[in-house]
Symmetry: D2
Subunit: 165 residues, 4 copies
């Protein structure tokens, strides 16, 4: 099973990336195979046909489970993450990929964004979005126990699906 | 595996009910075990503690897979369906139930409602919402092939999950 | 200018009602002319053609400004409120009514529900939804200052629109 | 009254831009004062502090009415548009700007996106989002009469608000 973390933070090497890694490992029991820090793909994201972008899209499509991680900007996912998702084919771009929406925010007011706003985009791309959106506080995610609690509840579902897919 | 169809149409015996049955059978290969036509529960829905309502809630909770079917009223699910869902416990009320959102409408303009609006309520109740929301035209659902197409794509996922749960 | 508060709490005389009254008064400078505590309409809500329900619909339609107030159930508005909204005509049922979405919750996690979920239903009914959804904590709304802050920011917009309508 | 059209299509000079212009003119009776074709801002969008991006943000903030126009990508607005919106301050970035959400799509299935997905971002930025989201077919918007119908219904509201703001 190949697992990947996609990170949509305009700042490379962010806490969003760290939280994504922690979640992927908690769900699968081992480190993610790939991390795609979208911002490092640079201006190729603004057009179609960039080779590095296309290679990253393929890495995602060949994964069994992918965590899509974003900070909360304007009460939803970032433009940077959406730019990358816009590179996938509608309906089939995430076919058979167990797609896990993860968002981080400074406070709890935007807790619904992962489930209401990010998950539908992944579903539109054909991903298997069986796990609920997870929203974490960016100041406490590393030690507040929410990643472990989520993984305990949902790892079985993720595993069952990565075998089907 | 026990399967149930929950129908939130103010009119009993509706096309919504028929479509729900067809979908449950397409996903599992056999007729649904239970159909709950919510409106027939009557005014007990407007309070807490009604015995018939509570019995229906238990039927849902003891099912492996439940289709939640609603016509589209005001661009979303009906008040009748939501009344019934309000009777479940938040976070756990649909735990381990593979919960499939189904909506019917007169035209395509509200096609996003099943995924964007009905599915999040089922997710909030703790359901395993692995399948995308399905939106059908109420005039053509019985023969337009969309139920079969959806079942072909998603029955494997549903089956894998009803074994886990 | 006639103002009305519509309350979708299954319990009559709720804090939701109280908060709705406070908001209407803060926005207009005087008490609401009408309060419709939906649950008191009883089982007529479950069908079409009930006279008391129809009279309440007319009160709303003849108002310039209406606060639609709901507690948060399952991360969204209640079935009771939606039952009442289902009685309005799509597209025109709230025409020229400045329609203000208000939700109360026990904690901040569902703060997005008023804007993302309740407001679109009012918009679908043709209401003039110029004010953002307001979400209040049910334990502190009476004294946390959020109603006054919201009214200070948006009363001018509401007033300008009730003159146009 | 200064009016602006913001266009979030990855292709410059798009039909999205054309539709945005038509809508702004229909609402106000004269051509838009400014058109910001976001993609032409280039890679400055991917960082903070770019001067051309900041100048465009100011143009928006100094406008009375702004049409935010996007094609539908993955059932929602584009990453390009969101990149630009991410440059505004949360809560106040669109204060006193009558903000009109416009989306174009190839078919009717995503008609809810303008109201459910784009409008909440503009509301989060503090815009006065009094007009409903408008969704147009990209093949027929120029002659199907929907822009005129929308303008006839909502121009009065827009005008009343641009005087208040």
């Amino acid at each position: 099973m190949t697992t990947t973390v996609v990170v949509g933070n305009p700042k490379p090497g962010s806490r969003t990336l760290d939280a994504g890694r922690l979640l992927a490992e908690a769900l699968t029991g081992r480190p993610a195979d790939h991390v795609i820090d979208v911002i490092t793909l640079g201006s190729g994201l603004l057009a179609w046909g960039d080779e590095a972008v296309a290679a990253s899209v393929r890495v995602v499509q060949e994964s069994s489970l992918v965590v899509f991680a974003s900070p909360t900007f304007k009460a939803t996912y970032t433009g940077v993450l959406k730019l990358f998702l816009d590179q996938f084919a509608g309906g089939t771009g995430l076919r058979d990929v167990v797609s896990v929406p993860l968002m981080l925010g400074a406070g709890p007011a935007h807790a619904m964004a992962a489930d209401l706003l990010l998950k539908p985009v992944l579903a539109e791309l054909g991903g298997t979005c069986a796990l609920p959106g997870l929203f974490l506080l960016d100041s406490t995610y590393a030690e507040d126990g929410k990643i472990a609690e989520y993984a305990e509840r949902w790892a079985g579902v993720a595993t069952a699906l990565t075998k089907v897919s």
